[in-house]
């Protein structure tokens, strides 16, 4: 920034702050809580009716039932997460299937990849991501959190987990990924939030660098 920072008269940081600054993106603070943020009521889909779909731009798709999904190879990532509302939480432990594995399985069954994906969810939420942000070991469909089933208010039965982007990209109640040739903004991306959402570049809102 070219501007001199405006010093808030009399503002002193808490002396107890013991945060590893290198783990904390700009403008974030560490919390030990796990705040809940969502735009509407929490959807509750029975596992018997839950499925996960990967669909290509031509409508070809692969679908897993909950039981089928549970047979896929699992990862147990431990990651830091960063919410655009300023909180960050370090060392969260998840269990889920990597998006790499899901896409590979879909491609082996004739689904064509694309440069962008749109995550779609129970309740109608969507978010858009470049393919390169959900491949290469960077994203999962997570159904376990801290050794237990992911609670509904945190996105259970399953949510997307894309920890290197602000957490609204980690869509709760996710039901599938749609490949797309173009980048079409999702729910928050149409409502003033940044299209990409990299916390290390503080891409919170539209117009941010």
């Amino acid at each position: 920034m070219a501007h001199e920072p405006f010093i808030a008269r009399g503002f002193r940081p808490r002396s107890s702050r013991m945060v590893d600054a290198r783990r904390l993106p700009p403008g974030q603070y560490e919390t030990n809580d796990f705040p809940v943020l969502s735009a509407g009521p929490t959807p509750r889909t029975p596992l018997a009716r839950w499925d996960f779909t990967i669909r290509d731009a031509d409508g070809r798709s692969v679908r897993w039932s909950w039981d089928e999904f549970q047979t896929l190879p699992r990862d147990t990532p431990t990651v830091d997460i960063h919410c655009v509302t300023k909180w960050s939480k370090f060392g969260t432990k998840w269990e889920g299937v990597s998006v790499d594995a899901l896409i590979a399985a879909a491609q082996s069954r004739g689904v064509a990849s694309g440069p962008f994906v749109r995550a779609f969810c129970d309740g109608g939420y969507t978010t858009n991501l470049p393919l390169i942000d959900v491949t290469g070991g960077k994203a999962w469909v997570a159904f376990g959190y801290e050794g237990a089933a992911l609670p509904p208010e945190h996105g259970g039965p399953a949510r997307l987990l894309v920890p290197h982007l602000y957490f609204w990209k980690s869509a709760k109640w996710v039901r599938g990924l749609q490949f797309a040739p173009n980048d079409n903004p999702g729910f928050w991306e149409q409502l003033g939030y940044h299209n990409h959402g990299d916390p290390w570049h503080e891409q919170r809102y539209q117009g941010d660098p």
Binding site: F11, Q28, T31, E153, Q190, Q206
Partner: protein, 259 residues
């Protein structure tokens, strides 16, 4: 699910939200723990009722802290008011509530948020359910409605259910009582921790029975806005859906326990 949340696309891509140094014109004590900061914000682009701003505090040593606060004032005011409740283990709210005074500067940028918003054009009826400082963005909606013309007000009957710990903790209590104008504006309080013996209203957490007796029935098709601590919002939003309200008509904003 048969009901979906739908984004309302903005007509134009907004420009970057720049940081501005607002001037504190006035400080109003709302409750022992909450204050309203009346701000003069240079180049304020206007806002919609329900939106919030980001506040940034920079210390002498360069350390900075950011938080989000809801706007309490209606769009037609020339100033922007934020009502902040002190969280004792917080870092920013104690500064805003205890330290900041008239004449100080405060860095803010906004407005932010395009879903938890209401304007006269959206119409009614309105159903506003708040817990604690969750009343703040709902107050902006009530104030917006109160400043509309009589026909617009008649088209938007509103019912408010506000849960606070005690009467003294209820922010804007006098203004809410003054706005009450049955059957167009009905306001119900519930005090969850204590209330004087003379209080004849509710004294418990919001539950299904309370909601059923206070709120609009689903057939009235209200637009519901629910704001407060996570536990309250989760409970109320789920109950509204159970009672038959369309999930797409229930908009929520949840306050984490941080500050």
């Amino acid at each position: 699910m048969s009901s979906d949340i739908k984004a309302i696309p903005e007509a134009a891509v907004p420009a970057r939200l720049e940081w501005h140094v607002a001037r504190v014109l006035d400080v109003l004590n709302e409750t022992p723990r909450a204050r309203t900061l009346v701000l003069d914000v240079p180049q304020w682009p206007g806002h919609r009722a329900g939106q919030h701003v980001d506040v940034r505090l920079v210390a002498e040593d360069g350390y900075q802290a950011q938080r989000s606060y809801s706007i309490a004032s209606p769009p037609e005011d020339r100033t922007v008011s934020l009502t902040v409740e002190r969280l004792d283990d917080g870092e920013v709210s104690p500064y805003l509530v205890d330290e900041l005074r008239r004449g100080d500067g405060l860095e803010i940028r906004g407005p932010i948020g395009g879903y938890f918003v209401w304007d006269v054009a959206v119409g009614g009826p309105l159903l506003l359910v708040a817990g604690g400082s969750g009343i703040v963005p709902l107050m902006a909606m009530l104030r917006r409605r109160a400043r509309a013309d009589a026909s617009a007000r008649a088209a938007v009957p509103v019912r408010v259910l506000y849960s606070a710990r005690t009467p003294d903790d209820a922010i804007y209590r006098a203004e809410l009582e003054q706005l009450t104008d049955p059957p167009l504006v009905e306001v119900a309080f519930t005090f969850t921790r204590s209330a004087p013996p003379t209080w004849t209203g509710y004294r418990r957490r919001i539950d299904r029975t309370m909601l059923e007796s206070v709120i609009w029935p689903p057939s009235a098709g209200p637009h519901a806005f629910v704001c407060g601590p996570t536990v309250l919002v989760e409970s109320v939003a789920s109950l509204l859906v159970e009672l038959g309200h369309a999930a797409s008509r229930v908009r929520t904003e949840r306050f984490g326990p941080t500050g």
